[in-house]
């Protein structure tokens, strides 16, 4: 009988606090958004379910010590910084840089959009985060999941959950955040600008690029070595046809398995005490700001470039520099079509889009070097 009592006392109802409940509701919310609104479902659904799983109150004797606990074990891949680079490897094996290779000057737009990162960093410092935390929050503006999680795990593990969720949420909110800013900062004429068709890129270029690009980027920002190494290694596997089977596994089985483990364990480690804080609200506000600034920076820099270029750029593609591949590029295309049906910007927008991935990885490297203990 006392066994039964003992057991009942161990059930989830006992010790279920309102925080737990709120967290579980958040989990349900993210799952809903993933399924209904298609908000980065591959990440937000696992994170959402992880939130639910991680916030069921457990009696001490079950939760037990961290070690040997399943979720603690699979979370090692995050805290040790193993999953994100390998996922980045798979991303590299998916990414096609040819649009970027075909009109290199659009790369600069990918640089400009990183302005959002650093402005957010300053904002985060202002509202009282430590420099390391501010760096991790700023990277949300990079609009790049693995990069954000990788940097957060190094600079501010305690904020990782909030940062990951903010990053992925805003990446899927790009179609909501960007258009008004884009319209605000451009005239209808500018949005109408048609860009010349981009040249064909040879296989040889595509193969040499990842190697050279890796050297350049790591030389200049050694902190981005791991991310860059994996991204461009994956891309080389893809472009060097001889390793197609590896590239294929990297972008399918491998990235899927890692995504499951990453999302699920990140969610399960986002506990009420870390998530239901003023800090998180700050993080989400900053994140929104980051995306807005990044978009604005991209668009304005494109207009700035037009002052010097005779072959004008359509400033809308500047907004794609925030990365958030491929959503941002699609948004550019959409807004472009509104202004001029028949003006398809997608392929042009892909250039700053992928450049933005590289740009935010460089930025992450800089932050890691400067702010990393």
């Amino acid at each position: 009988m006392e066994l039964l009592i003992k057991f009942l006392l161990s059930t989830g109802f006992v010790g279920m606090s309102w925080q737990n409940l709120v967290m579980i509701l958040f989990g349900v919310l993210f799952i809903y958004l993933a399924i209904k609104k298609n908000f980065e479902p591959l990440l937000l659904l696992p994170i959402g379910f992880g939130l639910i799983v991680g916030n069921i109150p457990l009696p001490a004797e079950i939760a037990g010590s961290e070690e040997g606990n399943f979720f603690y074990n699979i979370y090692q891949g995050v805290s040790q910084g193993i999953y994100p680079p390998l996922i980045f490897l798979g991303v590299g094996a998916m990414t096609d840089f040819s649009s970027m290779l075909s009109n290199p000057k659009l790369v600069l737009l990918g640089a400009a959009a990183q302005f959002g990162i650093f402005l957010t960093l300053i904002g985060a410092l202002f509202i009282g985060f430590t420099p390391a935390q501010a760096g991790a929050i700023g990277i949300i503006g990079g609009a790049d999941g693995p990069t954000a999680i990788f940097l957060a795990s190094k600079l501010a593990p305690e904020l990782l959950g909030s940062i990951a969720i903010a990053a992925y949420s805003y990446m899927s909110l790009v179609p909501v955040i960007q258009p008004p800013i884009m319209r605000l900062l451009t005239t209808k004429e500018e949005r109408r600008i048609r860009m010349q068709v981009s040249r064909q890129v040879s296989k040889k270029e595509k193969i040499i690029f990842p190697i050279v690009a890796f050297l350049v980027c790591t030389m200049i920002a050694p902190g981005s070595m791991v991310l860059m190494g994996c991204l461009f290694f994956g891309n080389l596997l893809k472009e060097a046809v001889v390793t197609e089977r590896l590239a294929n596994t990297a972008r399918n089985a491998m990235i899927d398995i890692l995504t499951i483990l990453l999302g699920f364990s990140v969610g399960a480690h986002t506990l009420a005490e870390n998530f239901l804080t003023w800090q998180s609200i700050g993080i989400f506000v900053m994140g929104a700001a980051a995306f807005a600034c990044a978009t604005a920076a991209g668009v304005l820099f494109a207009k700035f470039m037009n002052l010097f270029l005779k072959q004008k750029i359509n400033p809308l593609v500047g907004a794609a520099g925030v990365s958030a591949v491929p959503n941002a590029a699609r948004v550019c295309n959409k807004v472009g079509l509104e202004a001029d049906p028949g003006n398809y910007l997608l392929m042009h927008a892909m250039a700053p889009n992928v450049a933005g991935v590289v740009g935010s990885a460089i930025a992450a490297g800089v932050l890691l070097t400067i702010l990393g203990s």
Binding site: A111, P131, V201, L371
Partner: protein, 118 residues
């Protein structure tokens, strides 16, 4: 959390920002220069890559019977390879070997003759 500009100064926020943006720009400017160099270095003569229409219009294609036969042989071949996959579904399906009569032989063969990578 205590607000205030002093945080920014203490955290050397502007220094980080300037350095950061500088490096990012240097990096990507460098990169775009390299790309321009690349495209000029590599041989200019492009063998036009076959652009396959993403949704082929049946009417436009008009395959000869020869092509249809080729499709047949291709499908047989794909089936025989993919039938490993078929085995690899649910235990129920693994027991019951349904599917195409044509490929019932192909299954084990495309296996035992699957290239030795050792």
């Amino acid at each position: 959390m205590n607000f205030g500009f002093h945080n920014i100064i203490d955290g050397n926020g502007f220094g980080v920002m300037l350095t950061g943006m500088l490096i990012v720009f240097v990096g990507l400017v460098f990169l775009s220069c390299i790309i321009m160099l690349l495209s000029s270095l590599v041989d200019k003569k492009k063998r036009p890559r076959r652009r396959l229409s993403q949704n082929p219009d049946p009417v436009e294609l008009k395959p000869s019977t020869a092509e249809i036969i080729a499709v047949a042989s291709l499908v047989i071949h794909m089936e025989s390879e993919r039938s490993l996959g078929e085995l690899a579904q649910t235990p129920i399906q693994r027991q019951s070997r349904h599917g195409s009569i044509w490929t019932s032989v192909g299954k084990m063969h495309s296996l035992s003759e699957g290239g030795s990578h050792a």
